[in-house]
């Protein structure tokens, strides 16, 4: 145990690991945002509300239908994605070609409505969701006690993030998708159904948010404002990473989790603001974000 700036290395490792776990959530959420913005050019402010819906979907499956965590990990994102696709088809598609601000306002309004409805029904303190039986307990790592569930969230979200990156950047489907964003008319000429592709992509991004919601349910209270508290930070992550950059949002998500974790140890008062300080600094030096393509 070597003390460093007043804390031991053991405690430092523990805080870094905890930061990484939080980073996993940031990464998963900002990834969905980046996919939606990168492919559809929509600033999806409803992302936090959709994350919350994912958690409530899992809660509902468990309490009304006695369907546990593992099926919920698939069913909840699917269910919320369908909701998202309906929103895209009925509302967002009308805003195509308009300024970003319209999409932003629409999704922001939607978020407020969804959160208001849930709050009206469930109140503000929320509902409990148990940790799945298989992942109960934890392991003593020597420097900290790591709950199995937290270890799972890190591994799982990292896998999902990398798979998504691979699918979009390295596969044929991803190539078509990027082509559809770049030049919809030309892509259509090749016989690709672009509107359907866009709807499915929005559904996928929304599904990622809901997936993060299900992952979060056993850790945090399942409550209507759980997304609202997180969304601002997640947006900062996306901006730092470079709007629309897939790898950028993954790396930045984990990195900011770490930075926040360290701040909680050394100067806890700034833990809530450190992300925005980083954002301001990055924007000053690289206005397009760390991984942004356009300067």
């Amino acid at each position: 145990m070597i003390p460093l700036l007043g804390i031991t290395t053991q405690a430092l490792f523990a805080q870094l690991l905890v930061g990484l776990i939080n980073g996993a959530f940031y990464a998963l959420l900002s990834l969905g945002l980046a996919v939606i913005f990168g492919m559809l050019n929509i600033v999806n402010f409803a992302h936090g509300a959709l994350y919350m819906m994912g958690a409530f979907f899992a809660w509902f499956l468990l309490n009304a239908l006695h369907i546990g965590y593992w099926p919920a990990l698939v069913l909840a994102p699917l269910g919320v994605a369908i909701f998202g696709m309906i929103v895209e088809r009925t509302m967002l598609t009308r805003l195509q070609g308009l300024d970003h601000i319209y999409g932003l306002l629409l999704t922001f309004g939607l978020a407020l409505i969804i959160q208001g409805l849930f709050q009206n029904y469930f109140g503000s303190s929320g509902q409990p969701y148990p940790v799945p039986e298989l992942l109960k307990g934890g392991a003593n790592l020597g420097f900290m006690y790591l709950p199995n569930y937290r270890a799972w969230t890190i591994v799982f979200s990292l896998a999902v993030c990398l798979l998504t990156w691979f699918a979009i950047e390295k596969t044929r489907l991803g190539a078509v998708l990027r082509a559809a964003t770049e030049n919809p008319q030309l892509t259509r000429a090749f016989g690709v159904n672009v509107p359907r592709l866009i709807t499915l992509t929005y559904g996928f991004g929304v599904g990622l948010a809901a997936l993060a919601g299900v992952l979060a349910a056993p850790i945090y209270q399942v409550r209507p404002l759980m997304g609202a508290d997180l969304i601002v930070v997640v947006f900062a992550v996306v901006v730092i990473g470079g709007m629309g950059s897939i790898m950028g949002s993954i790396v930045t998500g984990f990195a900011l989790g770490l930075i926040e974790g360290l701040t909680k140890v050394f100067y806890p008062q700034a833990a809530n603001t450190v992300v925005f300080v980083v954002m301001a600094l990055v924007l000053l030096v690289k206005p397009a974000g760390l991984f942004g393509r356009k300067a």
């Binding site: 053991q10 405690a11 503000s124 945090y220 209270q221 409550r223």
Partner: protein, 409 residues
């Protein structure tokens, strides 16, 4: 000539209508009471006060029987978002526009401390039920306000004392980083050291924090016997849930929820909350009167929740306020109403008999409760059993220790 008489007629009309306006205004003032509920409607304390506090205030207005006696009682409510500036602006607006003579609930200490100041300046009344900081009857006490339901001292003195005496003699605090959390930590520290314990350290978390793993790890590595949670609402629920996840209690540490409401127990569920000791000034299942009040309340709120002590306190304080105004006759002189309230003993369905001290502290018994095991819970909201009833004189800070300038020593 014609012009002049027309002008005269117009003037006369204006005078006449102004006169009638004046008369009706005076009549209205005679029998009108304006009640404002200022609370957290949408944030982490929304279930502790929120819309439920408005329902409680409405019930008090109906139960007072004053409507039948020709009084007109207006009720207005708003969301202060737990922000002192938003709360202050709303308070000023309501006072300046004649919308409120009495402020109820005032959840969140930072908001209560700010509104307290304005209410004093404008000679209105603040009946604080939601906020916890004992400074409200200490150095920030006011002749225009009464701290009704509980405070950080009574919470510390009950839960903190019980746990320290039961052998929990070393403490680590996880503290909400604002006026309330700091006051609760300070008051609990006093109680712990007075009972032979010591405080090893603390970790701050901002209000409305989702992840407590960082703070809990620090608590764990401190090896303190007791981890005191100096937070409230959704923060308490989240930290208790995550403490279980990180195996704090399995490692032999004991959790002390220094401020936990019945709605938090409901949110956590009994499997996660069982065995926790907490302190309340009101529990719905104490006796026939509280049950009757709670059931009436429960039928009127959306999710069928039972009232928290904050909501019960809103009811209780407004009942007493209305009694005082009725005995005084129509007045909006805040200081006069408060001194009448202090002179009269309190008694109502929710909180029973009590009285109000010089420093504005309302005195009543305080209950040390323990969360039941899931197997012990027989009906909805059957969540706790009473471990001890602490008389008001013992629970609250003695007048002799008060920093309040209103106290004549």
């Amino acid at each position: 000539m014609m012009k002049r008489s027309l002008a005269g007629a117009a003037c006369g009309l204006m005078l006449a209508s102004a006169g009638s306006l004046f008369v009706s205004a005076a009549l209205a003032q005679e029998k009108t009471i304006k009640v404002g509920v200022l609370t957290d409607m949408s944030g982490p304390y929304g279930d502790v006060g929120g819309a439920g506090s408005t329902v409680a205030a409405q019930m008090a207005i109906e139960d007072s029987g004053m409507l039948a006696k020709g009084w007109k009682i207006d009720l207005i409510s708003a969301d202060h978002q737990n922000k002192a500036d938003v709360g202050s602006n709303l308070a000023r607006e309501w006072i300046d526009q004649g919308k409120a003579d009495v402020f109820l609930d005032l959840l969140t200490s930072s908001v209560a401390l700010a509104v307290n100041q304005i209410v004093k300046e404008k000679n209105k009344v603040a009946l604080i039920s939601g906020a916890a900081s004992s400074d409200l009857t200490g150095k920030a006490c006011s002749p225009n306000s009464i701290h009704w339901t509980y405070d950080t001292f009574s919470q510390a003195n009950s839960t903190g004392k019980a746990i320290t005496k039961a052998g929990g003699d070393s403490w680590f605090f996880v503290t909400a980083d604002y006026a309330f959390g700091k006051a609760l930590e300070r008051d609990t520290t006093t109680v712990v050291t007075a009972n032979g314990g010591k405080v090893i350290g603390n970790a701050m978390a901002p209000l409305n924090n989702a992840d407590f793993s960082s703070q809990l790890l620090q608590a764990q590595s401190s090896k303190a016997k007791v981890v005191g949670l100096a937070n409230a609402g959704a923060d308490t629920a989240n930290s208790i849930k995550q403490a279980a996840e990180f195996g704090l209690t399995q490692g032999g540490q004991k959790l002390a929820a220094l401020l936990m409401f019945i709605t938090d127990v409901n949110a956590l569920g009994l499997p996660a909350a069982q065995g926790l000791e907490f302190t309340e000034s009101f529990y719905w299942d104490l006796n026939d009167k509280t049950r009757d009040f709670a059931n009436r309340y429960s039928k009127r709120v959306k999710n069928g929740a039972m009232p928290t002590m904050v909501q019960a306190g809103v009811y209780s304080s407004l009942i007493h306020y209305l009694k005082a105004v009725e005995s005084l006759g129509p007045t909006t002189d805040g200081a006069a109403i408060v001194s009448t309230m202090k002179a009269m003993p309190t008694d109502d369905e929710a909180m029973g008999a009590g009285y109000i001290r010089q420093d504005g502290r309302k005195i009543h018994p305080v209950y040390l409760l323990q969360v039941k095991k899931p197997s012990e819970s027989k009906y909805p909201w059957d969540y706790a059993s009473v471990v001890a009833t602490i008389p008001g004189e013992e629970a609250f800070r003695p007048l002799a220790q008060s920093e309040c300038p209103l106290v004549t020593k």
